[in-house]
């Protein structure tokens, strides 16, 4: 009975996995085929090669896009880690009056969808002359209510005796944060960092409207750009670029799996 149940569960899981992976596998397969074969609809061709990857790396600005994405997502991750940590520290450990009320107001901003902020943000960035520049891509994302919320929950787990220990040692608030709180919560900080990096790597709308040149365009917008260029009907190569863009996220996901499973669940139940 139990074995039957188990078998059915695995069957269901396998089915869902195939369904989810199908587009990815199709893309990967297509990236190995010459465009001519794809255009003719001959998906079962056998002349597979890495030619499309070579072409993608050599003839398109893909490397530049990757570098742009790396800089953008990296800067935002650093900015969020720094500012969210400081904000969460203030919400948890400072003697601020009306901390809880302020935090509630702060949380409300989490419920304001990003789409609603696009126009005012765009105008601000434009006024600063930051359009088509790293500053415009990163500064608006340097903090997030979600990040502050997540880190606040993590910091609240710090045992009260450790807080007293820090007090009697005479640590300043920053020393306490740096020497005790940050190392204590480091797995949560790593999780949050990975999460931020992945989210930012996949940003689309904001870079689409604020970048105009290949000098600052990140990969996701770059891909679209490649596809829309008149000369570019090279599907095989486009698929190859898409596959290359996937690699960094996959690496991060696999490396960070342990942290994600542990911490996102913990935050969920304890929050």
């Amino acid at each position: 009975m139990n074995r039957l149940k188990n078998g059915l569960q695995y069957l269901l899981l396998t089915g869902v996995a195939v369904l989810l992976l199908f587009p990815l596998l199709l893309g990967f397969w297509a990236s190995l085929l010459p465009t001519k074969e794809i255009a003719a609809g001959r998906f079962l061709a056998t002349n597979l090669s890495w030619h499309n990857y070579e072409q993608a790396l050599l003839t398109t600005p893909l490397i530049r896009y990757l570098a742009n994405s790396l800089v953008t997502a990296g800067l935002i991750t650093f900015g969020q880690l720094l500012l969210c940590t400081l904000a969460a520290d203030a919400f948890v450990f400072s003697d601020l009056h009306y901390k809880k009320q302020l935090f509630a107001v702060f949380l409300v901003t989490m419920m304001l969808p990003f789409e609603a902020q696009i126009i005012p943000n765009f105008q601000t960035i434009k006024a600063f002359g930051w359009l088509d520049h790293y500053a415009g891509l990163t500064v608006p994302f340097f903090t997030s209510a979600f990040g502050v919320f997540m880190l606040r929950q993590a910091f609240l787990q710090l045992p009260a005796d450790l807080v007293r220990f820090g007090q009697y040692l005479g640590l300043s608030q920053l020393q306490f944060l740096w020497k005790i709180v940050v190392p204590y919560s480091r797995s949560m900080l790593v999780t949050f960092g990975l999460y931020t990096f992945l989210t930012q790597w996949n940003q689309y709308l904001w870079p689409l409207i604020t970048t105009f040149s290949d000098d600052y365009r990140p990969v996701q917008v770059g891909l679209k750009q490649l596809q829309s260029e008149d000369t570019f009907a090279n599907w095989g190569m486009l698929m190859a670029t898409a596959m290359i863009v996937l690699v960094p996220t996959l690496v991060l996901l696999i490396c960070g799996q342990k942290f994600f499973k542990h911490n996102l669940n913990a935050g969920g139940t304890k929050g």
């Binding site: 045992p159 009260a160 005796d161 007293r164 009697y168 005479g170 005790i180 190392p183």
Partner: protein, 366 residues
């Protein structure tokens, strides 16, 4: 280092926690503060540490006023109930962490770490992370960290309450040994009266914002100042029952005098209502019925191996006796409980205030 508190009070927004506490602690003393949860004992410790401010009163360390000084400038160390170890550092690093903000050479710090770990017998585990240690070992690390600072005053906030009974007994002996070897002033907070009795040179009993009694363990046990202390110190609890005494120096249990149950008082006592306290070991069954005995019905018997506890019902009052041997008695059978003849075993309290009555009982008091 001597510590003196004068008229210390502490209130939070709507509640008073401590009122008018004055006490002097001698240099090198093992001073225990005990009380039920919510009695303000931990707050008082944090006030001495400088972690909590006072609403009124002054604190002096060696006659230097420290009331407004932060903990760092009070030159003390602290041991916490939950150890407060840093999970991302190993044992030696944890001990060293407490020295980081002291002006010591690296060489001296290393020496202190080695010395402290040796004192608590943890030298072999110096590279382990706290997670890989038992609760008792973690608390040893925490002790070593406090001792490494070599401060003249060490504060301990219920350091043993997270340990199981066997480890607790072991660590109790350990802390007493460390105190003897090093000779620092030690202020120790606990809710456990056994810890208080076995460890302290002197004990401060706190309850309801106030000092209930201050004294050596035996003073507290033999001469409790009021009903609260009488019940709090000693297990099983002291029997405390209302009694009524008539003009013929006879008494009976209850708030009304019952002539048919009257028993003579073994010393002169003015007529009136009292609360009588008798330790369980002083209330033992008589082999045969006598005049100076209370008739009782056995309600429950607990065999402890070395001791036997007999819970009995006497005229509607619950009494407990402790007999220092194995004693067979059936539940429901009748017993005669001997009223102790010596005055010292009689603890009389004012029926209204609960304060110990000293006058009229003459040589029983201090």
């Amino acid at each position: 280092m001597s510590i003196r508190l004068t008229n210390v009070s502490k209130g939070f927004e709507h509640t008073q926690v401590l009122s008018d506490i004055s006490v002097t602690i001698a240099p090198g003393e093992f001073f225990v503060m005990v009380g039920p949860s919510g009695s303000g004992k931990s707050t008082l410790l944090r006030i001495i540490a400088g972690l909590t401010s006072v609403t009124a009163g002054q604190i002096y360390f060696d006659e230097r006023e420290v009331t407004a000084l932060p903990p760092k400038e009070r030159n003390l160390s602290m041991v916490f109930q939950n150890y407060a170890l840093l999970p991302f550092m190993n044992v030696a690093q944890n001990v060293r962490f407490g020295l980081d903000n002291q002006q010591l050479s690296a060489n001296e710090k290393n020496k202190r770490v080695d010395w402290a770990l040796d004192l608590v017998h943890l030298s072999g585990l110096r590279d382990r992370k706290p997670k890989a240690l038992s609760g008792g070992q973690q608390q040893r690390v925490s002790l070593a960290r406090a001792l490494a600072a070599k401060t003249p005053l060490v504060l301990m906030d219920e350091p043993l309450s997270n340990l199981d009974a066997q480890l607790r007994a072991e660590m109790r002996a350990e802390i007493i040994r460390l105190h003897r070897e090093i000779g620092m002033t030690l202020i120790y907070v606990t809710h456990d009266q056994v810890e208080a009795m076995t460890m302290g040179d002197r004990i401060l009993v706190l309850d309801a914002e106030q000092i209930q009694q201050l004294g050596t363990p035996l003073e507290l046990y033999n001469h409790p100042a009021n009903e609260f202390v009488a019940k709090f110190i000693g297990t099983p609890e002291m029997n405390i029952v209302p009694i009524t005494v008539n003009e013929h120096n006879q008494f009976s249990l209850g708030t009304e005098f019952a002539a048919q149950q009257a028993v003579p008082v073994p010393f002169a006592l003015p007529a009136g209502h009292y609360h009588l306290g008798i330790r369980p070991e002083q209330l033992v069954p008589l082999a045969a019925a006598g005049t100076a005995a209370l008739p009782a019905t056995v309600a429950d018997v607990q065999q402890l191996g070395n001791d036997t506890l007999i819970f009995s019902d006497c005229n509607g009052q619950q009494l407990v006796s402790r007999i220092p041997q194995q004693f067979e008695v059936a539940v429901g059978s009748r017993l005669q409980l001997a009223v102790p003849p010596q005055k010292g075993a009689w603890h009389l309290f004012d029926a209204q205030t609960g304060a110990a009555i000293k006058e009229g009982v003459a040589d029983g008091g201090r």
